[in-house]
């Protein structure tokens, strides 16, 4: 806060948004990591490798953006990983088994995710099941259903021309051949931009923060909290559907066993990005940075050919250090 003398007319710089240099500082850990790896290996900072990193961040990034919404409401979603897979599987059924056109497949993925989100949102609000349990249950159900639907075998998209382009093609590359940014990364940035816009500019976004801040107060203000919460879960589910498209397009197949463990990685990206698990605060930019930090870290250690067991150790240490540094920065800023 400012001093008591502060004139009321000019607001104190709002804490949440932060100034431009504040925003830059949020990137500090990421930048330090990139510079560090670039010094350690000339192979690291090559266009190709940077594109791989972005590509690697895309699926986790999209999942993390979706779950950011839920975490800001003070909830948690453990089902996002298997939900992503389930959406991919249903898309595979529609495209490969039923031979529907590409666009229908894309819409199916998103609709499937939204429907799953609707379900978990309803369980959380109407049946008052804690989000952890509701989404844990859904995680298991969707995991099983994916295996059942596919008969435990991957569904390949070989008969849908252009399917792999969703993730691995490059619209940017058509314009700038020297920088063939994969479409998957484009999708990530697009999803992040839209969700960021929703969060900061729309009523839905406002209620997302409000619910996480004090749900009872929102309810007492006459807002139909259940309906909005369900909407948020459904939106997050739709985003999982997009992640399902990305991963299956990248693998040119819906892998039914995939997905478990992805929720933890996505939640980690969100929390590394500064969003609080107790709800009420968080930014999409932070989540993006969190996802990028994780992708840079994994890729960088691999490019350095660090032994896998040491990769794990170093990743753990760096995650802690990065968040600690960020913590210090925030404390200083406050």
């Amino acid at each position: 806060m400012t001093t008591a003398k502060a004139q009321p007319e000019r607001p104190a710089p709002v804490r949440r948004a932060g100034g431009a240099h504040q925003k830059l500082l949020a990137f500090a850990s990421l930048i330090v990591l990139v510079i560090g790896f670039s010094i350690a290996s000339q192979r690291f900072f090559q266009i190709d490798n940077i594109l791989s990193i972005l590509q690697a961040a895309s699926v986790n990034g999209v999942l993390a953006v979706g779950v950011t919404l839920i975490i800001i409401t003070g909830g948690i979603d453990l089902s996002i990983g298997t939900m992503m897979t389930f959406c991919a599987v249903i898309t595979g059924v529609v495209l490969t088994w039923m031979g529907a056109p590409l666009l229908v497949g894309v819409l199916t993925a998103i609709a499937t995710g939204a429907a799953c989100g609707l379900l978990s949102g309803t369980l959380v609000t109407k049946a008052r099941i804690p989000p952890f349990i509701a989404t844990l249950g859904l995680m298991l159900v969707l995991k099983g259903l994916s295996l059942i639907v596919t008969g435990t075998k991957p569904i390949y998209f070989n008969d849908t021309p252009g399917y792999t382009e969703i993730s691995t093609g490059s619209l940017v590359g058509l314009v700038m051949p020297q920088f063939p940014l994969p479409n998957g990364v484009l999708v990530l940035f697009l999803v992040a931009a839209i969700v960021g816009w929703i969060l900061t500019r729309t009523v839905l976004g406002r209620y997302t923060f409000a619910l996480g801040s004090n749900e009872e107060a929102v309810r007492l203000s006459g807002v139909n909290t259940d309906r909005w919460k369900i909407a948020i879960y459904a939106l997050a589910g739709a985003i999982c559907g997009i992640a399902g498209l990305l991963i299956s397009s990248r693998l040119n197949s819906a892998q039914p066993a995939l997905g478990l463990g992805y929720e933890l990685e996505a939640i980690a990206a969100v929390v590394i990005g500064g969003t609080s698990l107790s709800g009420g605060r968080g930014t999409i930019l932070g989540t993006l940075i969190g996802a990028l930090i994780m992708a840079v870290l994994t890729n960088g250690l691999r490019v350095l050919s660090v032994a896998p067991e040491w990769q794990t150790v170093v990743t753990g240490v760096i995650i802690i250090v990065a968040v600690y540094a960020d913590q210090l920065r925030r404390r200083k800023a406050a």
């Binding site: 001093t3 003398k5 709002v14 949440r16 203000s221 139909n224 605060r281």
Partner: protein, 500 residues
Amino acid sequence: MTELVRMEGIEKRFPGVHALKSVSFDLRAGEVHALMGENGAGKSTLMKVLSGVYQPDAGRILVDGREVTLPGPAAAQAQGIGIIHQELALMRDLTVGQNIWIGREPRLSFGRIDEARLNADAQALLARLNLNIDPRTPVGGLTIARQQMVEIAKALSYRSRVLIMDEPTAALNDAEIAELFRIIAALKAEGVGIIYISHKMDEIKRISDRVTVMRDGALVDTVPAADTPISRIIAMMVGRALADEAVVIPDLSAANPALEVRGLWRGQELRDISFSLKKGEILGFAGLMGAGRTELARAIFGAEPCDKGEILVAGLPVSIRSPSDAVRAGIGYLSEDRKQFGLALGMDVRANIAMASLPRFASRIGAIDEDALGDIASDYIAKLSIRTPGDRQEVRLLSGGNQQKVVIAKWLLRDCDILIFDEPTRGIDVGAKAEIYRLLNDLAAKGKAVIVISSELPEVLRLAHRIAVMCEGRLTGILPGGAAQEQIMELATKREGVAA
């Protein structure tokens, strides 16, 4: 005057508590109807029924003569009933403007919020309350008094025909109360009916047209305010008359100093504060909102770091870097914000009373002597007449005033040599207030040193042996007990660089 609302035979039971016993109540257009009663009498519960938060077990509610059901807050709003809750219901992570307009955001296309209009509208509302708060400030950073003002602004924004105010002034000082009363007068003129709950007796006389008194969940009577003396209302509330005592200032010339503060600085909030406090003395702190009294108390208590300065306890310098240091040095601090800083709301009365003194009830391996603890807790429940079904009731289920008593009990049990009480009687009824004043005097008589920070000048005048006055982070003067109000106000507004 036309009748806006009528409640008939309202019943409400909670586990272990019969909160409302066939209560009837009515409100007319353009009147201020005061609702009075001891802590836990059922005032807030009745109002929660009227605002759709609770469903009554029996009884009818009529609005404009038509029977209505109010299944939720939205339904009550639709009937034009607005409420300022006793327990603030704000979203700490949202800004002031966002809080005020929650649920009714001005929209643009695509569900976008017109943030500029939202802030402008909020600014206008705040200006109406003469309040200098930027609508873009996050609410979590505001003092409790300012949060209360935001809550009032929010309630006004609904333009309700029926406005319930549940202890709106508990956290406010005189200047802010004056602003609120100005608004209330304007609303009255517009024909709005206002239900007003407060434990500040003088306010009742100032603004209310009728007074309804409740006791133990039942209606006592509804009387016109103009021709009912305060003493009669108090008698209706507590069932007996209360004597009005004046402060007795003891001779402390021989007493040893208990606490000395020398040259305390913290940014712009605390500037070069020095004072001393003797054993057996009650030092009152007066000042306007934001004068820095809470800041000072928190700094002394180690809840917040200070830049420089020295603190001496019983003549010896102590280093206080955290509240646990302070408590070890014998300093206790009762915060002004019980919900955020005072209570573990989800825990029972017993645990909260014991929170600062647990080790005293523990064996060497840490096992708690529950029997001893229960006895002590019951003692305090009786001593402070805390209305609860037992010491195992969760504190969040108590009425606001009774919650406050629990915090007081916590510090009384801790038995510190130096006690800093920040707004100790917030939300406490007249009867209990007198009881607490007596307890504070007893403590002082036993040689404890007490600081009382209060926004209620009468309270400071009633209790303090000396009165310290702050303005904008500076200590502008220390007056003898019983000083004239004008003298205090002069020091409280003595800005730096402005000749007094």
